[in-house]
Amino acid sequence: MSEHPSPAPTATDLVDTDRRDFLKAGAVGVAALLAGCDAESREAFFATHFHELDATEKRAMLEALEKRYREEFKQDVHVSATPAMEGVLFGYALDLSRCIGCRRCVYACVAENNSSREPQLQYIRVLRMKNEGGVDLIDADPYYDPATVPEPGVFYMPVSCQMCQDPPCTKVCPAEATWTEPDGLVVVDYDWCIGCRYCMAACPYEARHFNWAKPAVVTDGRLAVNVVRVEPKGEGRFVVTATEALDAPVNLRAPEVMPTIVKRPFIDPKGKRFFTDTLPVLNTAASTQADPSYTFEVASAEPPALTENPGEYGFFLDALNPDTEFLGNRPRKKGVVEKCTFCIQRVRKGRYPACVEICPVGARKFGNLLDPNSDIRYVIENKRLFVFKEELNTKPKFFYFYGV
């Protein structure tokens, strides 16, 4: 096979090589590849599909993963395989009239989901389009880079996985490595994906992303915030509301706050520039919401104090999120496809997706489509909605609406 370099051939080698190559190509090629691989790849080669594992095998597999991640990241990583809840079908709605294009959701998502920072891999792509043009993709700019947002004359449309009820991506997968869960989440098994990228060609929303290189998850960086409100939520948890303190030095005090990151410059090896090195500042005056802020949950014995000194609190920016799910944010390897799961590791435990929590203007709504009292049902029943590319009949469970 042509996978491995061979030493300069001699006359007798030639015969050997030829016959090996063409008579026993398959077996020898695979054996050679296996021999040249690390233990993880060899294990994966003999793996069994997730759906065919019983409870004991699943537990053993999760423990093996935790062990491997502990060795790789020098920290405890919890991997669970939380089943879908009965009577739940997740849906999402995004208010285009509120979104200010600040891309906080993009980076909160990267951090929460342990996506690669280098090369950058982001589930959410925010398109900037002109007010007079409406949703016209050919004039959409995903690389807008102003000093402050929102800007006059434009609107912003964040696009991520639309969680189609009839997803083209799972239909085309040749290996059943991606599927729709009972609660409506379209997931990928990173240990089964062969990396053919057919799903990426099939997705009408650019919602699927490939790990072109080994994903780099852990780097440095923190974002300081001012805690302005703390409300108890019971069982040692508090809901914290904070505003950005961009100029403050960071001296992190709260151990468990929602991780997010600031933008870092990254130049693709090919020279293609993705995003710049600073997030745009929120222009509160131009925002539809007067007081952009972050709301997140903190586990703590005592309520976190309101900020007295600048820099007391901050978000972990580029830390590995240790709370992971098998079909969600567990660390990936190169050569597999990944995508938004509505933060499966959060929503199956009753929490909001990271993008919903971080949105400083409350443009993102999430909930159970089967629960008549949910936020998402309120939006569907009371607002004017549209789904993206309805003519493709993918039947998204992600809705866009105009709230104001």
Binding site: R197, G335, V336
Partner: protein, 425 residues
């Protein structure tokens, strides 16, 4: 008896492969160097990931899939020889139909190699096979594609092995066994090309491919590009082994190619008319291909080169006087090969992704590493073809009682010691 014959067949084949002149060994060494270059490039991709290629999320398929698509066409084109030979019983071509089948085997092997180098987790490709893995059948066209290609490979391998082995032991081929297989290879060839086109044309997200006539265009272009290679190979084989291949056979193939190229250009024109006249957003991929859009124009040269080469080749092949001129015939064959290769390799795949589904542009052309990997796979394919032809031709030359072919001139031993010159189409 069978075991003894098989042993004799194997050792004799080995002897044919191992005996050759200086030119033969230079050619083999050149191909082995090509394989080594490709393997070295691939090892870098295997180690570092696909970041070392020019593909990215926006253009997630590139040169590898383009080559794969092209080679499926080459594999299917074997039937351009098989149909006149066996369906219309046209004798001049029947003697050489086996060359087409050998080419099909090599093309499918190269297809498989291009699939292997284009997946991020090559060790897991068995996941998409039925029975051993979890093939997503019937819904995934790619799973069908791999399955049908594998069957087509086995089919052609069985046919060729049967013909050559029977010829070797001096028996007639079993008509009851091999003729149904040969006839079945005709719909099978149409099938692999159709399934391959469905892989692309089934994607509603990509208007450039999402066209009902894409499979027809694939078939038409395959029935030009495959025979283009066969035309040149037949001349090389004729010169090297003095195997009797009549000019009439070459001209008949050229005539069939002219019809196929007409159909190819007609279908292309039908697409162009629909898109430009209706002028919807779906036109943008064509504008990107032929004039560039928003300042992005990396593909424009490729697209025009493909069209111009195809039109010129059509003009050469449609005029009987031109195609019967051996020099013009070869110019036309090269033009067709180049035209279809550029079209399938780059000009078909890249505009499917530009503009992207969210309206973005990413200028993809294959980089040096992708070109080296592809060169390695082509070297492996040529090497396989060289070795198989080295085993096959002496048998073609010596079998005198073959029911499927007429008497061939003697000279097997001379042929066995003959040389095969470097032959890159």
């Amino acid at each position: 008896m069978l075991a003894k014959n098989l042993y004799r067949f194997a050792t004799s084949s080995l002897r044919h492969v191992l005996t050759g002149g200086v030119a033969y060994w230079l050619w083999v060494v050149l191909l082995l160097i090509g394989v080594a270059v490709g393997a070295h490039a691939y090892s870098e991709q295997f180690r570092e990931g696909f970041i070392v290629t020019n593909m990215r999320d926006e253009v997630c398929w590139g040169f590898y899939i383009g080559n794969f698509t092209f080679l499926v066409g080459i594999a299917a084109a074997a039937i351009v020889l098989v149909i006149p030979a066996y369906v219309y019983d046209w004798k001049p071509i029947r003697e050489i139909a086996i060359i087409g089948e050998l080419l099909a085997i090599c093309a499918v092997v190269m297809c498989m190699l291009f699939v292997m180098v284009d997946v991020g987790q090559p060790l897991r490709v068995w996941h998409m096979l039925p029975l051993v893995g979890t093939a997503n059948l019937p819904s995934s066209v790619l799973a069908w594609d791999v399955l049908t290609l594998s069957l087509y490979l086995v089919l052609n391998f069985v046919i060729v092995t049967h013909l050559v082995y029977r010829g070797f032991v001096g028996k007639k081929p079993s008509k009851a066994f091999v003729v149904p297989l040969i006839l079945f290879s005709i719909p099978a060839a149409v099938g692999i090309q159709t399934v391959e086109a469905f892989v692309l044309s089934g994607l509603s997200a990509r208007p450039f491919w999402n066209s009902a006539i894409l499979p027809a265009r694939f078939l038409a272009s395959a029935f030009c590009s495959g025979p283009a290679i066969i035309l040149i190979l037949l001349q090389l084989i004729r010169r090297t082994w003095h195997l009797e291949i009549k000019n009439e056979a070459l001209w008949k193939i050229a005539e069939l190619m002219a019809y196929a190229m007409f159909l190819n250009l007609f279908l292309f024109g039908a697409e162009i008319f629909r898109e430009y006249y209706s002028n919807t957003h779906h036109l943008l991929s064509y504008v990107y291909s032929f004039t560039g859009l928003h300042g992005y124009s990396a593909i424009v040269g490729y697209s025009w080169a493909a069209v111009i080469a195809s039109v010129l080749a059509f003009l050469i092949f449609i005029v009987p006087r031109f195609r019967k001129n051996m020099f013009l015939l070869n110019v036309g064959a090269v033009l067709i090969y180049v035209g279809v290769y550029i079209e399938k390799g780059v000009a078909l795949i890249v505009p499917g992704f530009n503009p992207s589904t969210l309206g973005g542009f990413y200028e993809y052309t294959p980089n040096w590493l992708e070109l080296r990997v592809a060169a390695g796979i082509f070297s492996a394919g040529f090497l396989l073809f060289t070795l198989m032809i080295k085993v096959t031709v002496p048998v073609l030359l010596t079998r005198k009682t073959d029911a499927l072919a007429g008497p061939a001139p003697a000279g097997g031993e001379r042929a066995a010691a003959g040389v095969l010159p470097a032959a890159t189409p």
